[in-house]
Amino acid sequence: MTPADAVAGTQRREPNHGMRIFLIWLPIALAADLIIWFVWGPHMPPGDMSSSARSQQFDINVMAVMAAPVMAFVLTYGVYALVVWRHRAGDEEDGPPIHGNTRIAVTWISVTSAIVLGLAVFGTVELVAPAGAGAGEGNTPIWKPGGGAALQVQVIAQQWRFTYRYPQFGGFETTSLVLPVGENVQFDVTSLDVVHSFWAYQLGVKADANPGVNNVAFTKPEHTGAIQVRCAELCGLWHADMTTVGTVVSTPAFSSWAASTRVQLAALTRNLPPYSLTYDPNSVSQLGKAFQQAGLTGAGGGYYGPQYPVQP
């Protein structure tokens, strides 16, 4: 600051840019966080129909609440800088030769590291606590739900249908996914041909279906309702059509459904390969041929030949 400037007082007018940016940022970040947590949060995908979906919804809300101030800061600073420090016509001077600021760099690195490491710890806790948070854990899962035995549902993926076997009810196989509310469910996901991915949206469950591999995922449905099931791994021509709708029903309704379906499909079940966590695709395709010859096609017990489904 030169003596002339001190007299004119021009240097004292340099505003405190940092404080200004902070004061603009603070209400924006607060408003964003409040809207995200209270308004958007309860409606955040994937909803709260199951324990894993609820936990994922909570995760996404927490991360959104942490991300919004960061984005707000960068955008606020950016807009402020572009407006306040834009080049004025006729000014051919360079800016001040600031090469760096160790304090600012260390602060930035510390804060971002803290946020990121905090998120990593948070994510780990949220993965372990709700028994794997609906993600496929491979054939030796380590995070299992407590509180009683789980209903086992085997998900068999093939080009281009999902079928479900219930080993605790005699091993019948059906295209309907019906689950009881309030009970732990263990999905054993496998494939007969290529890699698919069993994705039950409202349950917050996604587990890849690999041939010859059993991929286990856990959840506990907490509300009744419909479940959209889609395939989430490109598996060939009709990948997009590999969708079904399942339901979560009350426990008595489920028991009666299971019992009646078991009886209804008893003849078919006798002809199926014995229940196993993985299936040899060669024997399965022979079975499909045999079923076709016997006039039994379509799951509800059967196995699809490559010509199914027909073009939608």
Binding site: Q56, M71, V74, D94, P97, F122, V194, A207, L234, L237
Partner: protein, 665 residues
């Protein structure tokens, strides 16, 4: 011919020429007599037919060939020999064979650099500036092809029930778009801008390995054509990720996927190797690591990523080829292999690949920012450290693509941690930008607009990556349009915006003419607005449950998908504006832009536009860094005309001065 125990001059590019047998520069042969694209095409066709015939000879009585009626072995051998024929026809092997035979090599880089005329752009040229421009034209062509395929995808997605394409065609288009973009855009900045500018920026007259550099370029049209020819065979139904066993069982189109990706992998390795050695060994005196332009740092780090990751890709493609042709069982579960092996091999390359796509963009915007803020780059060391950190960490995160695949469950917190950690060095770029903006004098030129667009897009892309790194949240987001939006924001919003910015910034240097700034402004604003309107809704579409690579979707998502599709057509229109600008400015208007229009301190701007053969008259002595704006008493960036004595002392000893000076000339 006596053996020289003490050669009187150091190794010239192209081999030591024994005295008395200097090649006489006779009358140059006619353009059609010299190896160029036309001889390359002839070689390719010949090679393809020879390979196909050989493949039939060898494999036509294989059981699986007879059963399925298709001979993958013949197709793949045809592609491979076709590529070798293409290279041979271009004259790639000529110098090598001559040296092996002990004969003098005709061409050297300096002589070629002095050649004029457009014919040299169609030849195997050893001048890095010619190779840079060849890469530029090639990359723009590959990008436009991939972009047209994207428009086809969005056309199909206009309606969930009315189908423009059959399922097989649509799936093939999706795979072609993804593979074309991921394969080709790996080199979109290092190829054109890296090859052209790195020697200029480090004060070198040449690249370390001109032949390897040119070879890396000429492999790209081969990869491109092999990939596109897959459409003739019905394409491949497994996307760019190639998951086995679908990729092993798929029909002939999969062979073009495997061979094209393998060819491009080799191109990446060669490109990287040349850049790394050039940057390490060919820096001018005074070009310390602490004065190296950030763009050169990004080339160096990206080079290491390519060099270490691409071999795994080439190996994986080779294994896929043998699985498909000669009955190996790497990826087939019921024969003792594992589909997980493919996933791990692919993603071990695939994750560094996306940082190969991200880092050069960082380099360009860090180069552009100081010039148009008229301030030094804030935190130069932080920026360089960020790039090095990203490079190191990117080899430790690949299993985040396999969170739901059924991998060992305790791997997932490990990879969640490393993936979260990699966002720290990635975030350094924002610190650098924020600091550079502080009290700057910001000029809103077209390159600066693209740099600003980069930061906006990468902010969204990067933060959405944090959402994906959280395993529980990833359970819903994996395999959906959320992932698509994330990577389009980082790759197209990041890399391509940076590429456009770099092009507007450096084209006056490369061609000596300016792109229309008015059209550039229109191009930027339309591209920015329509890019965001195309990809921002896709986050919502993904979270609402639409998986990737589907031709139909839930009815209630129709409005969103229509909005996205129409925006994508308008985005295509903005790219068209770019093409019009590029063609109009370089071919028709040709407004000359000599000198240093951006008043940049970069060393590349201190020579003529375009630079002469050999770039500099004498190897410069670098005196200060390129970002010293705002300091009145900062030395100039280099002494471009150092006295002869200065260099001889730098290289040690009097008496070597004359030779050194001669070599440097």
């Amino acid at each position: 011919m006596a053996i020289d125990l003490q050669p009187d001059k150091p190794q010239q590019p192209g081999g030591h020429v024994p005295s008395g047998r200097e090649p006489q520069p006779g009358a140059p042969r006619a353009w059609w007599g010299r190896p160029a694209i036309h001889t390359g095409i002839a070689g390719a066709v010949l090679g393809y037919f020879v390979g196909h015939w050989l493949g039939n000879l060898i494999a036509s009585n294989y059981q699986q060939v007879q059963n399925s009626g298709q001979n993958d072995f013949a197709i793949i051998l045809g592609y491979v020999l076709g590529t070798i024929g293409w290279l041979a026809g271009l004259g790639v092997f000529n110098d090598l064979l001559r040296q092996m035979a002990g004969r003098p090599v005709h061409a050297d880089a300096e002589a070629q650099a002095a050649a004029a005329g457009t014919a040299r752009f169609f030849r195997y040229s050893l001048d890095h500036k010619v190779v840079g421009i060849q890469y530029l034209v090639g990359m723009i062509g590959y990008f436009l092809t991939g972009g047209l395929l994207a428009l086809a995808i969005r056309t199909e997605l206009l309606s969930p029930s009315y189908h423009v394409f059959s399922s097989a065609t649509y799936t093939a288009i999706v795979g072609e778009h993804g593979t074309m973009m991921m394969m080709m855009m790996s080199s979109v900045i290092l190829g054109p801008l890296g090859n052209y500018l790195v020697p200029l920026m480090i004060g070198s007259k040449r690249m370390a390995f001109p032949r390897i550099e040119a070879l890396s370029f000429w492999l790209t049209p081969a990869a491109y054509l092999v990939l596109l020819s897959g459409l003739m065979f019905g394409g491949f139904p497994f996307g760019w990720t190639g998951y086995a066993p679908l990729s092993i069982e798929a029909t002939q189109g999969a062979d073009s996927y495997a061979v094209a990706f393998g060819i491009m992998g080799i191109s990446l390795i060669l490109l990287a190797f040349n850049l790394i050695v050039t940057i390490t060994c060919y820096r001018a005196p005074g070009m310390r690591w602490s004065r190296l332009p950030i763009f050169v740092w990004s080339n160096l780090t990206t080079g290491f990523l390519m060099l270490l990751a691409a071999p795994v890709l080439v190996g994986a493609m080779y294994m896929m080829i043998t699985d498909r042709t000669v009955q190996t069982a790497f990826f087939t579960d019921d024969l003792g292999g594992s589909s997980y092996l493919w996933q791990n091999l692919f993603w071990f390359f695939g994750h560094p690949e996306v940082y190969i796509l991200a880092l050069p963009g960082f380099g360009i915007v860090c180069e552009i920012l100081p010039v148009f803020c008229r301030k030094p780059l804030f935190g130069y060391r932080v920026a360089a450290a960020g790039m090095v950190g990203v490079t190191l960490l990117s080899f430790f995160v690949w299993q985040h693509h396999l969170f739901d695949s059924g991998i060992d469950p305790d791997m997932r917190p490990v990879f969640m941690l490393t993936t979260e950690l990699i966002s720290i060095p990635t975030g350094f770029i924002f610190l650098v930008a924020i600091g550079t903006f502080w009290k700057a004098k910001i000029h809103f030129t077209v390159p600066m607009l693209f740099a600003l667009g980069f930061f906006f897009n990468f902010l969204i892309g990067g933060i959405s990556g944090v959402f994906l790194s959280d395993v529980p949240a990833d359970t819903t987001e994996h395999g959906t349009f959320f992932v698509m939006a994330h990577f389009h924001y980082t790759i197209m919003g990041g890399l391509i915006f940076a590429f456009m910015g770099g092009l507007y910034y450096w084209l006056p240097k490369i061609m000596g003419i300016r792109l229309s700034q008015r059209l550039g402004q229109i191009h930027f604003w339309t591209m920015f607005v329509f890019f965001n309107s195309t990809f921002l809704p896709l986050f919502a579409v993904g979270m609402a449950g639409q998986p990737r690579r589907v031709y139909t979707y839930a009815q209630n998502l129709t409005t969103l998908n229509d909005w996205v599709s129409i925006s994508s057509f308008l985005l295509g229109g903005s790219i068209l504006i770019f093409v019009i600008n590029f063609v109009y400015s370089t071919v028709i208007a040709r407004v000359p832009e000599q000198g240093n229009p951006w008043r940049s301190r970069g060393l590349e701007w201190q020579v003529s536009s375009p630079p002469g053969p050999g770039n500099f008259d004498r190897v410069p002595v670098v005196l200060s860094g390129p970002y010293e704006y705002g300091s009145k008493d900062a030395p100039p960036v280099a002494d471009l005309d150092p006295p002869l004595g200065v260099l001889s002392e730098a290289y040690g000893g009097a008496g070597a001065g004359a030779d050194v000076a001669e070599v440097q000339r």
